[in-house]
Amino acid sequence: MGILKEIFFELSKYIFAFLLMYYTYASYRGSTIHNENKRRYIYKLQNFIMFTVHFMGYLILYLQEENIDYAILYLEQFVFLFVIIAIYDNVYPKASRLLINNMCMLMSIGFIMLARLSYDKCVKQFMIAVVGTIIAFFIPWLLKKVRSFRRFAWLYCIVGLALLVSVLLGSRIFGANLVLTIGVVSVQPAEFVKIIFVMFIASMFNKSTDFKQIVITTVVAGAHVLILVASNDLGAALIFFVVYLMMLYEATKKTMYLLGGLVAGSVSACVAYELFSHVRTRVLIWLDPWTYIDDQGYQITQSLFSIGMGSWFGVGLCSGMPYKIPVAEKDFMFSAITEEFGVVFSVCIILICLNCLMLMMNIASMCKTNFYRLVAVGLAVTYGFQVFLTVGGVMKLIPLTGVTLPFVSYGGSSMISSIILFAIINGMYIMRQDEGESNEADKKTGKVKINEKEKNRK
């Protein structure tokens, strides 16, 4: 038995890498295939791969720890993932199956790594994911029923700013760390304000994109960013800034705004560097973490060791020391995964995240409603830029900003807000198809015209 176990452990890392490579290939292939049956087949195959990876991961954990709890947790998670796919398939058949598959794939990788780092945290994270999924399940339905989301611009503004200010005051007065505690539940409001912020910008620009409206929106958006910088949540501040800039560009269609915004952003980054010592510290550690390896540079250097040790195929699940990185389960999940699963596996994760982003941009470009197009772009940028910040940060390509990898990192607020974000996008996929059906009349006339044209050519 010992020998079989060893062989399985040794081979597993190559199997993991191969499976995820195939999954990633299927994600991109699936989105370009025209034949619906073939596409459904590919999506089913993806689910099969996901369940295999999930099963293998837990099998290794179980064999390593020899604790029946892991088997139970596995079964619960299996049922959970299975139910998500089955329910969406039956209740919302028009949702993007690929987006759901990707979400489940990322979640299951996160669950495995989290269970490996801390069983208790994995249980907690799993429960939050269940709650989040239940909440998010009503979102597509809500989007369909309520058509007036675009009218509440100032409500979004007030709620968003109020939440951020409460965190700022909390951190200033009580020294709390970006967390709001209500009873037993701790929430990281910035995670949710991200979505509210997108709704706010979209409502504002949906109304008008004249100069006055742009100025007002910019001031409010700037206030969000400044509060976040003041509360030392630099990652979120950057995300808000980039999201605002991209949405402005999308709404006004003026490249000048994009370039001007980038220049303004660079200037204010320099100002922030001069003004805030915590910004300078981050940059200093980024440039040379080795000098500060004992204190502020400890985390990032451990992260680099982690990725470096992983090399192409990883050291194998449970064979590395990812727990050497302080709070690996939050901001450094990507490094931990790279150490044990390898760079090939991690590159696939990057590509899967990119696939999600492409699906979001895709729905944005197909939305006929201005408001929803802006929302889709905003959410896509929120998601994409967050992935860029965390992955780029842990490998020291850019300074660390301390944001999470959606669906993979530990953190309840991050998990729930990511699930909601994906649910809104799915809601749009569903709406868009309904829209398509109701617009069939217009289409018909269009078609006739084309037929006439063809006739004329003949």
């Binding site: 250097t301 590159v347 995240c353 941009m361 470009s365 860029f388 078609k447």
Partner: protein, 493 residues
Amino acid sequence: MKQTKKQGKSKSMKKKKIESDMYDKAARNKETNTISFIFVGLFMILAGYLIYFSAFIGPDVINNSYNKRIDNLSERVVRGEILSADGNVLASTTTDADGNENRVYPYGSVFSHVVGLASHGKSGIEKLSNFFLLSANANVLEQIANDVSSTKAVGDNVVTTLNVSLQQAAYNALGNNKGAVVVMEPSTGKILAMVSKPDYDPNDADAMMNEWITYDSADSVLLNRATQGLYPPGSTFKILTTIEFIRENPQYNSFNYSCTGSTTTKGASTIHCFNETVHGNEDLNRAFANSCNSAFATIGQTLNVQNYKTLCESFAFNNDLPIGIEYNKSSFKLDTSSNVSEIMETSIGQGRTQITPIHNLMIVATIANKGVMMQPYFVDKVVTTDNQVVQQYNPTEYKKLMTEQEAKTLTGYMRSVVTMGTGSSFKNSSYTMVGKTGSAQYDSSENYHSWFVGFAPEENPQIAISVILEGGYTNVASAQVVAKKVTDAYFSK
């Protein structure tokens, strides 16, 4: 017509459904396209950098004492061997019947500092190549077989640049004196020999370590004096003073000085020539060959202190050395606020200037290598147990520091040191030695550290050498005698 329309309609409906997941490029507007491209670009950078990191940066990064993951490797891998350039084993690991591993050093104390220790905090090449020694890159099937049978894999071997016979010659030449000898190939930076005394037998580390660490730094056996010992450079520093003088005075050939055995500047201290020898009338070449303190203290006062400092810092004073094993930084303390006495003392290599033997070697090797300083290195390649190369190290330029002409001029002066100056031990050698002697005063006693730095042959330098003998040395006249024994051994092979 009606039918066609219907068909058209149903087709379009079908198509709609199919298109639902597609990246429909035609439907996209310019802005969404631009944003998509930006993010595709960002993600490609992420993936590309991750691959680049894994291929090129990661292997260097992980070899760090803060990386506890490497210690973890020793549970699965038997530490590989350290070999000399010609394949002699300098360190290997034996496993006894009970599975206890023991690190064995066949040459005992001869290679003590440079090979270093694999335990007790690690040092030398054992530390430098720690990760490679604990990585088994021999064939994959064998590794899996090892995993399965739970026998340990055997780590890769590290082939050093060290030459056993030269190391032994240097070890014997130094005798029982405290000091260090370092020998390098100037064109590549390969370290051929490195000896530091007093030494220790690494085979006794487990039993003796507790005693060794109690020695103070003057007697410490653990200190690698070749890279960690800081000494006043003495007259060897006149090399840098000369370079600065030549740069500031294009007419340096017409330099003339009349030595009376000492020089006194008003309000500053008096500088004496060694043994108060009166050197008489000298040009720059002769002043250098005679190592005339009076002349160089006078030269020193004419120099632009800021430029002098810049020159020394470009030669890595006050800077990190690119050598990979533990070392200390050399220091040059002169600046524009220094007084005349300090300037005079500094220009003859006294004052507060401090240098390590390997750094002095790098400077003299720069002259041998036509003005290009090479990075010294100890490891030529890493090979698997079946001799496949895992990693090959190539010579690396550190900096181009002098013009070829400057190097040639300095070489000429250093040749004069041997033919008509203080380096007379090499006068009758079969090879053309060039070099610079030095005597460094380190306290108020009559004891001097003795220095020699040089290279040979003059025309086509093959080795460069740096020797320090700490004050109070016995059985040997000076550092140049030690150096000669080593270079003789090299050229008599």
